[in-house]
């Protein structure tokens, strides 16, 4: 039976059980965190690095976690922040023409040995990478993880109405983009 967030929070509050609580927290959430990170940074090696950094940030932040937000949204906020930081830090800068984030990520998609999607999946991922940053985040969380708008709102600090609109527009853009490629 899966441990509840409340039980995890109780364990991490106490010094003697903090490590056990952290371990159970990772057991419960590491896969979901990984896939959230992976869809942002694209390449597996980068996702691995970000997941490590995220785990360390979570460990360091456990004492400060106030339970104002749910454990889940707190973890996701950290993973989103770490992912975006990673992308920013790793953008290559050509002397003449700085590469955009989109270009860097498309290159990573093409080069990633852990991407073996078929033609449709490849087009879909490229279409997602064409989206503005926020629409991409919203789309990934809604389409792939089926998070509720209220949860996404807590994670990103955006109103539910804006999120609904972002998701709808992102979906339309992706469909149009893929149609153009066909």
């Amino acid at each position: 039976m899966e441990i509840s967030d409340q039980q995890i929070i109780e364990l991490i509050k106490s010094t003697s059980t903090k490590e056990k609580g952290f371990s159970l927290l990772l057991d419960k959430y590491q896969e979901r965190l990984y896939w959230n990170i992976r869809r942002i940074v694209v390449a597996h090696e980068d996702a691995n690095d970000v997941l490590q950094n995220t785990s360390i940030k979570i460990w360091k932040g456990l004492d400060k976690f106030r339970a104002d937000s749910s454990l889940f949204t707190w973890l996701y906020r950290i993973s989103v922040n770490e992912s975006l930081q990673h992308i920013k830090q790793n953008k290559k800068h050509s002397f003449f023409v700085p590469e955009s984030t989109k270009e860097v990520l498309i290159e990573k998609l093409e080069a990633d040995e852990y991407f073996d999607g078929d033609d449709v999946e490849r087009k879909l991922q490229k279409a997602i990478l064409e989206l503005p940053k926020k629409q991409r985040l919203v789309f990934n969380m809604k389409y792939y993880e089926d998070l509720k708008y209220e949860e996404i709102s807590e994670i990103l600090g955006t109103s539910v109405g804006s999120l609904k609109a972002s998701y709808h527009i992102a979906s339309k853009k992706i469909e149009n983009y893929v149609k153009q490629l066909q």
């Binding site: 990772l26 869809r39 597996h44 360390i56 852990y114 999607g117 490849r122 926020k134 609904k164 609109a165």
Partner: protein
Amino acid sequence: MKLDKQKNKESGFKIPDNYFEEFRLNIPDLIKKKKTISKTNHKTLVYAVAASIVLLMVSTITFLPELTRSNIQSDNYELSDAEYYEINMEDLYYAFNDDTESINTSSDLDNETINYMADDMDLEEIIVLSEK
């Protein structure tokens, strides 16, 4: 192409075999290592700053007569102003260390939020507005 509405949609992304199991095993070592490294860096920095201050003081004392000697001696001559470098060690420490405490998603997200969308707007109204 219509986007698939089913859950657990294939996305083409794969992972190495046993990735999560191995990741879990490595995390305790990773966390302990990070803590040790940051403490070592702190001590090294403090010692380095202290040594620099001592050297600065010694060199100032040694060369002070040279620095203040003047060809024209007057009754009212004053020592040349000395610059005092006030070093706050705590400030230096934090300057060299990343701030690992802040979690602020808003600064990393651009302002493409569609601000004209009110929560209670009908989705169809929103679509019409966005297509203008």
